[in-house]
């Protein structure tokens, strides 16, 4: 799944994004780029807009009636909020993993085959292959290969989250969005997923929202610091954590304010 793209061009270009919930402005004039094969981390205190912002990338905030987005969101040079843009297609290329693992109450196999089946793939051999590949990429195959038909609800929390990641991978997306994927998990499960993310970076572009700064420091290449709906600073992770330019960034990452 290698990205044979011009590595200099970003996969997402966002310009002057404003987002309103009714009268309340949740995102204020944010512009940024997301690059291929990088892990970009969004950090910031609660309520600063990072979860809202990441949902702009796959138009999941369409589900909220009162939500209005303005500005340019270019995915591969096409504006995602264009009237003619195929949202379903977008979501199969830009996948999402949520904070609380949400496997469907079906078998492990059916969970992973769900996406491909929705796209019309029926051939059992093809589906078997997709399921195995996805589970292997998500470092879950060894643990569940002998019980694919068992219910997904019988897995532990960490396994369920990896299942959700496998489910997303089965769609062969370009970008995987993760909204605080480890905040509901214990430290060992968290570590497994962090290791997974670092591996997945080779094949996918990953954007991760996290309130755990050490996590952002450990796994991301670029870090963006959000505060009250604004993008305060975005730079290489090592620059942010060694010598941030903005005073508020420094105060946040050193824990002087939350």
């Amino acid at each position: 799944m290698n990205q044979e793209h011009n590595m200099k061009k970003p996969v997402f270009t966002l310009k002057n994004i404003d987002l309103f919930y009714g009268d309340f402005q949740a995102i204020k004039n944010i512009s940024m780029n997301i690059n291929y094969n990088e892990v970009t981390a969004f950090i910031g205190p609660s309520g600063c807009g990072k979860s809202t912002f990441i949902r702009i990338l796959n138009r999941m905030n369409d589900l909220i009636q009162t939500c209005k987005v303005s500005g340019e969101v270019l995915y591969e040079d096409k504006n995602v909020y264009d009237k003619n843009f195929d949202v379903i297609e977008l979501r199969s290329k830009v996948g999402m993993v949520f904070q609380k693992p949400n496997p469907f109450p079906m078998s492990i196999y059916d969970n992973i085959a769900y996406g491909p089946r929705c796209q019309g793939i029926k051939d059992k051999v093809v589906l078997d292959g997709i399921v195995e590949t996805a589970l292997k990429k998500a470092a879950l195959w060894d643990e569940v290969s002998d019980r694919l038909k068992k219910s997904a609800m019988s897995l532990s929390g960490g396994q369920q989250q990896r299942l959700c990641i496998a489910r997303t991978i089965a769609m062969e997306p370009e970008v995987i969005l993760m909204d605080e994927p480890t905040s509901a998990l214990d430290p060992i499960a968290t570590q497994k997923i962090e290791d997974l993310i670092i591996e997945l970076k080779q094949d996918f572009t990953i954007v991760i929202v996290t309130h755990n700064m050490q996590q952002a420091a450990r796994i991301s290449d670029k870090t963006a610091f959000f505060l009250l709906g604004e993008l305060i600073e975005m730079d290489d992770t090592n620059k942010i954590f060694n010598h941030p330019k903005h005073e508020k960034t420094e105060q946040y990452i050193t824990g002087r304010f939350g």
Binding site: P105, C118, M153
Partner: protein, 405 residues
Amino acid sequence: MKNNRKLRDNVSKTLVYSLGSVGLIILGMIIFYVVSTGLNLVRWETIIGDSRTISTDVYLDEGVGSYILIETIDENIVYSEIWGIGLVDSTNKAGYPIVEIAYIHPESKLIQPFDRNVVDEEGNHPQVDLKVGTAIEKALFNNNTIIALAREQASGMIAKLNQATSITSMSVQIVGGGIRGSIIATLYTIVFTLILAIPIGVSTAIYFNEIATYSWFSRAIKNMVDMLTGVPSIVYGMLGAAIFVPLLNNTIQTQGGSILSGALTMVVILLPTIIKSTEEALKIIPNELRQGSLALGANQTQTIFKVVLPNATPGILTGVLLGIGRIMGESAALIFAVGAAISDRVILSERATTLAVHIWVIMGGDSPNFELAAAIAIIILSVVFVINLIIKIIAKRLQKNMNWS
């Protein structure tokens, strides 16, 4: 101070216990009365028997044969090997002695003799089913040359029968009191109601809960549906009589009420319930599942039919089962919309009674048949009880499946 408190505590406890027991006692007495009255009649014959008591004359031109008994029968039965029928002395409800059929040989032609008094369109006489319990008043054999009367008792009749080569006319009273027709009518009503109510109800609930969630219109509809669940069903019965009956009369040429008009009326009665149960079942499905599906690139239809609906099925089923219970118990509405004519041969476009209406029919009038009514009540109660049991089991399975933690 302490004693005062203790006293009050004891008094209120006693009050509660006694009131509670009163309730339980009354309930127990009702059930006991029903069961004791009707248990007798809860027999196979009742369930598959005709309702009407038929009095007619039958004839058989040929039927003589050799019908050897292959099983032992009661000593009181007088058996004719020539015709394969066994008679016994008995008394009818008024206390007069009668002769009853006690046994018919499986190969005997007397199982289905011809009806003398009825001729159908082609000039043929239809056959009548004789069965055990049929009373014989008198019989004329061999072109009226041999006469047998009930007061000659079973032995006398059999003796005369054995001399006969043909039965010219036998006056019989085939006891009815069966409820087969009503059971079939109830089943038809249930099936047709559900065929219409489930798709309409589930689709409506899906539309308002999944698709058009936020418009003022859908909120108005939801409120209306809530109100409609409380409307007394007799109002719907009026509706049925006023709208569906004439409608069906004009379109498919029914005469007055029919099972179809009853089913349509029940659809209207059940829709709010089914919509409500479906809605509740859809609501408890966590939004994260829908989001997860959409995030994988599924469209809304796929999300609804592959993720939401399968998981809502237990809840929908509960609503359906409640609906079935309601159909079985519905009386007034169906009396208006269908009519109250008990039928033994149930046709969709004609009148028939459901079990509850059947109770109403046999309890009304000069001689209420408590026994049969109680028997039907037992049947209805058992079905409702079983339905409730099934609902509870489904609810438990629901809990296990939906345990997200």
